[in-house]
Amino acid sequence: MNEMELLRELARETPLPAPAELDAARARLVAAIATDPAAGRSAPVAQAVMYQPGPASSQPAGPLRPPAPAPVRTAVRFMHAGAVGTAAYLIIALAFLGDIRAYHLTVLGHHLTTAQLSHQRPLIIALVIAVGLVMIALWLWMARAAGQGRNWARILSTVLFGLATLGLTGNHGVAQVFCAVLTWLTGLAAVWLLWRPASGAFFKPQALNRDYAGPAGGADRRP
């Protein structure tokens, strides 16, 4: 048995995928087909192709937008985790406020005195809660929009992550710093995944048919 036969022998151990395993890839192709300028000219065929083949996939493909690729799905999960982390951060921050020293708190560049802090405590708590809730809402909004393939969500997420990075230094206490860094790392992972090459086509489905020329190299060049 030579090396070619050995390779073939061992390759036979990999089975062909079940039809359901190709559903996501097929749905992405069907979505690209549906956005092709020539697609509208043959509506009956278009309807037929929207149905998946095989016993495990006899349901309609659903909306034309393709399912998110794996990196985007993971990024969305990270964003949900970020929302949870921010909620934890909010709780810790509220607990921290109970023990806050006046010299720790600076509002618009002015250190608050103990009297001012005591007087404005309800306002500060309301402010912290409001900011925390807005941040949680932003996480969830970005997760939803990114999961739907909105390219602006990818850009806005990156901008928000940049702003979060700038605000990373204004934390006090081990628990608060730990929570802030953990949430920041979650954001970093999410942003990184959103800009992976595998995510690119998902965020630009309209441009795909016109501009995407596939991988570099001339695979379809004829000798």
Binding site: M1, L6, R8, L16, L22, P69
Partner: protein, 196 residues
């Protein structure tokens, strides 16, 4: 599959007027392209790469040479180029397989255990040999050994002359043979599989 693929060109031609027809090409070839990608880059990455392969093919269908009845070389060429953009995933796949092969299966019948251990040793050696090849040599070797493309088909897939296919294959086979020759696992494996 070759007979079924005989009218690939007709499908692609009709898909230029009726894009929906391109799904026929997917149903026909996607399982094999997926398996090729899964072997090379791992099942998680293969999921995305098979979609990207057909999206790229669909976007470029107007440039397909309709004189080529069988679209497999074209599709494998695109898939191979995509693997080229995921070399780290491919390298990781070889490492995973080597690590998995290093852990023997559960105990059983003595001959079966011996066969399993030898087969795993073979996998480890082959994966190590494949990982050590240059990307171009590996592409040629695997398209011929795994996907059973002809020299001419590989030439079309990778857009290289047939002579280059031959020289790359020769070089790749020599290197793999050298790795395997370092052990007696190949002979043992052959003996066991022959007796089964």
């Amino acid at each position: 599959m070759r007979s079924a693929a005989a009218d690939d060109a007709a499908v692609i031609e009709s898909s230029r007027r009726e894009p929906e027809r391109f799904a026929v090409l997917f149903d026909r070839h996607a399982p094999h392209i997926y398996r090729y990608l899964a072997r090379r880059a791992g099942p998680q990455v293969a999921d995305d790469l098979v979609a990207e392969t057909f999206l790229a093919a669909f976007a470029r269908r107007d440039r397909y040479d309709l004189g080529r009845a069988d679209a497999r070389p074209w599709l494998y060429g695109i898939a191979t180029n995509l693997v080229g953009q995921h070399r780290r995933d491919e390298a990781r796949q070889y490492r995973i397989r080597q690590a998995a092969a290093a852990e023997p299966e559960v105990p059983g019948h003595a001959e079966r255990v011996a066969a399993d251990v030898t087969a795993q040793a073979m996998r480890t050696l082959l994966d190590a040999a494949l990982a050590a090849l240059s990307a171009g040599d590996r592409d040629v070797l695997l398209l011929i050994a795994w996907e059973q493309l002809t020299y001419q088909e590989v030439s079309r897939a990778l857009a290289i002359p047939v002579g280059t296919v031959r020289s790359r294959l020769h070089r790749a086979r020599t290197k793999v043979r050298q790795v395997l020759a370092g052990t007696d696992a190949a002979a043992t494996y052959e003996e066991i599989t022959t007796n089964e």
